[in-house]
Assembly symmetry: C2
Homo-oligomer: 336 residues x 2
DNA sequence: CGCGTTTACGTCGTTCGTAACGATA
DNA sequence: TATCGTTACGAACGACGTAAACGCG
């Protein structure tokens, strides 16, 4: 058995059981891949794939189990390489982050900026998507960190480190009636207007819906978007009242929008940063985590990695001590 | 990086950083091993060992971490081979068991016998030792199962499956005064005589000592041995009253010994069977576990492997449902 | 000088890529 | 006939073992 055979095996699996495309991805010849697969199957004495004619048709049960182990092995090989690079030269490498629009657009820029200054030689990959898409990216690996809000279920194989809380902000065109209620707005007031907000099933979104339902309100959501910029656009057009993450309430928006911090109206959301449990975090990765979530000390991260369940991890972070991210509001609703 | 290099690396570590002996163990030439180590270090760009002159002196911190990962990898490689053999030919392989004298002498023989009948082609290795020695054997790997009683602390890296309970038996020469107390014996009665029993720190032994202490008794232990056969020998010689595991009270002993089941006198002990968490158990291994502990169903074992702590595992086994192993007693002490 | 490691080098086996072939839809 | 996998073969590479040199106690 050779590492290369396992690598080829995984490449075949990850390319839809197509040996030709696997070979291309591996920058090698197709017969080579074919042969190594055959050798591996011969050595193990079992079929990893069932064939239809000559083409690979499906993975055998035995194959599934071998592949599972092979992934673990390649993971550990990567880990060895990682920690070796870390000892050898700390400043080079790559960092892949999958995250949502709000993070990518409003939260990460200053963090990424500082990171670039500190590690100019580290290649950065930022992938934007919905929670589901992020989960897919994680599954197909090659992502170091996932950053998202709520919906922890999708990421059960990651370690999720709570990073900060945030509330929602109400955005309306300047001079809108709601601006007169500054500081005393209720959900009832809000429900009187058509709303523009994030699509459902987006991070913590259902909690927003529930907040209305809990008061017996059924708001008229006229438009849902995947990102705050779109929401703002439609709010500017007078389509309705916008509800966005506070971080998305940019100071630059104040020219023509009025922003009200809705701290008391909706339950708080928590954004986390997640990574694979068995991955070696290189120095610059640790630093990135600390840039993003300064309360995560090296000690804390060590504890986190020793934890045996997500519940244990959550216990390590006193929710009340997490910072709260805000935007650039004109008014604040008084706490209920 | 190649699997072979990792294998060589581990061989070097396991042979006291002596490349020559590592090469012998690997049935290859010494320069070959030396070269592969060098290549690995070059590829990773770090020193795995610190050298004094040309000899390997110690493992560098980076080396420690690499070795740790390498072990994981080789473990998984073994797992792949294991499960492949299992699919290919279920009846061949090897089974190594480390256990204590009592198990090896009194409990395992019929189980091993049945196992041999069922899997004649599986090579059996039985290693006998004290709990500490068993722990050492586990550490130096190559042991599939450990079977022992009590002292779970020594085996924190194993999954321990509770298998059966047992009590102690009192053995005395025929016609001994204690036989007249049959059924009404107390610890106080026992403490009047010199005792012959297992050495302390042997499975659950301290609990025996404590049983006396709890009643304010300080028995005169005139002789301690590692195994029941020795104890019986000295009891026969009239040196004192023997306290042994009930399983060790053989029917063949009845010719000249009187055996009293001391079910109520001492706390019950529990014998467990342990194996490494990340090892693939081959079919015949699963069957062995079920021969040894019939209450462990395949479903149960699956649950066990999913458990995240020993506490969780223990919860899976209702202690009251475990069988109680007995010996071949003449009399039974009435329960207190 | 013995022990252990590294260097040097010839041999042998393996891998790789190209090219040709085979099978399937 | 286009697609995908296997077989065949020569070239290049890498691993192995022997022999010799080196460094340290």
């Amino acid at each position: 058995m050779k590492l290369q055979q396992l690598k080829y095996l995984l490449a075949i699996v990850d390319n839809g059981l197509n040996i030709t495309s696997a070979a291309e991805r591996l920058y090698t010849s197709q017969p080579g891949v074919s042969k190594q697969l055959k050798l591996l199957e011969e050595e193990l004495g079992l079929q990893l794939f069932s064939r239809r004619g000559k083409s690979l048709d499906s993975i055998t049960p035995a194959g599934e189990r071998v592949i599972e182990r092979a992934r673990l092995i390649m993971q550990e090989v990567e880990n060895i390489r990682s920690l070796a690079s870390d000892y050898y030269e700390e400043e080079e490498g790559a960092l892949s982050i999958a995250t949502t629009h709000t993070q990518a657009r409003y939260v990460l820029p200053p963090i990424i900026g500082e990171f670039r200054d500190r590690y100019p030689k580290v290649g950065l990959n930022l992938h934007q998507g919905t929670s589901e898409q992020i989960a897919d990216m994680i599954a197909s690996n090659d992502i170091d960190f996932a950053i998202a809000t709520g919906s922890k279920d999708l990421f059960s194989d990651l370690i999720l480190v709570p990073s900060y809380h945030w509330d929602r902000s109400i955005i309306v065109p300047k001079g809108h009636e709601l601006t007169k209620l500054d500081g005393r707005m209720t959900l009832g007031d809000l429900a009187k207007y058509p709303l523009v907000t994030y699509v459902f099933s987006f991070g913590g979104q259902s909690s927003l819906k529930r907040a209305f339902a809990d008061e017996g309100l059924d708001p008229d959501v006229v438009f849902t978007a995947r990102d705050a910029d779109v929401i703002k656009t439609y709010v500017r057009m007078g389509l309705g009242v916008g509800i966005v993450a506070s971080m998305a309430a940019d100071c630059a928006d104040k020219k023509d929008l009025h922003v009200i911090e809705a701290e008391g109206l909706f339950p708080r959301s928590t954004t986390w940063i997640g990574f694979r449990k068995d991955t070696v975090l290189r120095k610059y990765m640790l630093d990135f985590v600390q840039l993003f979530a300064p309360h995560v000390t090296a000690q804390k991260l060590d504890d986190v990695r020793r934890a045996r369940s997500q519940a244990e991890i959550d216990k390590l972070f006193d929710e009340t001590e997490l910072p709260v991210r805000t935007g650039c509001a004109d008014g604040v609703i008084e706490a209920a």
